[in-house]
Chain length 450, copies 2
Amino acid sequence: MSESKQITIAGAGLVGSLLSIYLSKRGHQVSIYERRPDARKNLLDGGRSINLALSDRGLQALAKVGLEERVLKEMAIPMYRRVMHDRAGNLSYQPYGKEGQAINSVSRAGLNMLMMDEAEKHGVQIHFSHAASEIDLDSAAAVFKNEEGQSKEVKGDFLFGADGAFSAVRSVMQKTDRFSYSQEYIEHGYKELEIPAGPNGEFLLEKNALHIWPRGSYMLIALPNPDASFTCTLFFPMDGDPSFASLDTTAKARAFFEKEFGDALNLMPNFDKDWEENPDSSLVIIRCYPWTRKGKVALIGDASHAIVPFYGQGMNAGFEDCFVLDRLMDEYGDDWSGLFEAYEKERKPDGDAIADLAMRNFVEMRDLTGDADFLLQKKIEGRFSEKYPDKWTPLYSLVTFSPEVRYSEALALGKRQDALMAEIMALPNIHQFWDSEEVEQKMLALAERL
Amino acid sequence: MSESKQITIAGAGLVGSLLSIYLSKRGHQVSIYERRPDARKNLLDGGRSINLALSDRGLQALAKVGLEERVLKEMAIPMYRRVMHDRAGNLSYQPYGKEGQAINSVSRAGLNMLMMDEAEKHGVQIHFSHAASEIDLDSAAAVFKNEEGQSKEVKGDFLFGADGAFSAVRSVMQKTDRFSYSQEYIEHGYKELEIPAGPNGEFLLEKNALHIWPRGSYMLIALPNPDASFTCTLFFPMDGDPSFASLDTTAKARAFFEKEFGDALNLMPNFDKDWEENPDSSLVIIRCYPWTRKGKVALIGDASHAIVPFYGQGMNAGFEDCFVLDRLMDEYGDDWSGLFEAYEKERKPDGDAIADLAMRNFVEMRDLTGDADFLLQKKIEGRFSEKYPDKWTPLYSLVTFSPEVRYSEALALGKRQDALMAEIMALPNIHQFWDSEEVEQKMLALAERL
């Protein structure tokens, strides 16, 4: 058993809460300071539901602290496949993995509340409405201010910045020499819309699926909620034509939806209100290094690697940070300097890889899922992978269902698979004989190169 | 004549001073607030001399306000060629351009003082020892604090952030939505050393040259000063072996220099003191966008595009910002919103291009200038360019001696030239018949593709 430490965490979001559980289970005294009020007492978002896709990496991290089954049972809706909607409302389908494999739609707020409850059960102190105002990187001391402006100085042995994409801890680190940092806003933003439950409380689209309306340079998606509603998100350029800037009246937006997303619009009785009231939010990719400072301070989750949401991996990557850190704690014992160094060295390439993968998947979702060649390629890969599971795992499965493969390894393997599949897709008349013995033999030969 | 405005500039460095001259010549009321004390009254650096390479883009910008000739006459030492020193002290040579073309070694401090004097002559008010403490991006108002902690609120029509790589103005912009930003520290840092004048006040190395000791992954360079000394800079990895970290005693550093830079070390009587007292400084590349905010605030120079020093273009790029802004002012008159938008749109690709070019030139200087193939390639290009000046301008000349070509155009053309020269260098026995009619004809044919 290693020595018990006083640990401060900035941020009681998903990653901060999970981290606090891991640390308190190891016997450390953990205090979390959270800028926002306690969401369990104040339903601030007026019930607006943001949902996330929880998959195997996140589940593995939850399992380690005994939360996997409870989360799956109490709040997750498994989504087994993508359902693509074309402009005419015709549907096509693409399974996410093998029979029975699914990603899980969960409510961010619900999951966060469950984990804060669990953290408190383990003795974690959560101080809400306390924003970081000063941070001393050398001593891991911090000053947090509450809404009345009262300051509280917190001295601990270690400080974790689990305070998200706009991390206050990181912004202090950013001013230190040789701290590399980037914040990159992509040209697309997003707006949330809603498809409510049907008149008898039924789901109005296929329940156990993630719905996509791929339209080339933009897309609409929908994820199911336990109350039979769907949370829809339009990912759309901020400027240009069309864009949030060009659809500058609700009438224009409605006309645009009629043309592009007719079947979805028909299920959106509150479209006008949602369009007007829900913000056009921006999407940012954050990269930085180092993630730790002098064995005293460490960044984790979005604070160290905020990514775009298109692979459904933001939360899963943050949870995996906790899982990896915990594994390294077994190895490093009381050597926290060694621990922090090993943690950032191991996780940085994976944070970079999932950032790249997430941007790649945006192109795939908005553009390629509407493309016959792409869908055929996935079908060939899926068929081959099912027959020769030890020779081929599709990239999506590596990222989503294979936590034993690092993100950085998945990305590298995916690139080799892409090059190889380009040869298969270049075969004459591949659409006719894709399921032939000849193609299978060619795949077998090529797969030797992977 | 456009309407006279109140303009605040943060930073009285090279770019801030030049910008103030441009603006005051147009009839605007300009106040500069500078964090540091007046260098003309306080020789803070104890005479430590940082010199810069002033070339045609910078000269063009100085010429527009009548300063080119004075600067060239009073403080510049033309450098016509690179002199490469190998480990044995053997020299080789590479001209920078055509006969008579040179880059100019100037003292940063000296040039800055000249330009501050000139700015004040034009009525610019410079307030020293005033650091920005608050900036309101919407109104262009700012609060500056002096060393006694007294605050001064400054309201103007427009605010320019000419406050360098660690710009306070930019750091406020960084917190606004959709502001993309990166600070990237490269793995190399630098340390300054000195070769003093000889016993009779003579230059101990060839005066009108930039000296390079290329050693693959690192290098030493030396630029001449008017007092016959040379300022030497070691560009060296911060970590690894060898690195500033590995040379952790002066004795180790001296032994390393004896092996690697023997002829230079022989001319450095103060090596031990310089090594111990001069810092290991880091090198950072800063990129951001947008550069302006609501037609009220604009970044310029290093604040918008800090680059590594290896192309000698940092100051030149900042001066060119002023030159371009001035040209656009003719076009946009009193439409400052239009002006700022046109300025950032035009200059951003050029700022990105010179950042890339500067990193490429580091590889060229430290590694390729010691490579026989590279030197031959440059000789072939030089010969061809001299004979057919309208068909070929070497990349270095495009960047350094061709201010009519944008950095972004130079970079694009340079990449096409590289591809083409790879074909020439792949010819069998090119070292034997590089100056043959056959190679010339082949170059002529290939150059049609550019």
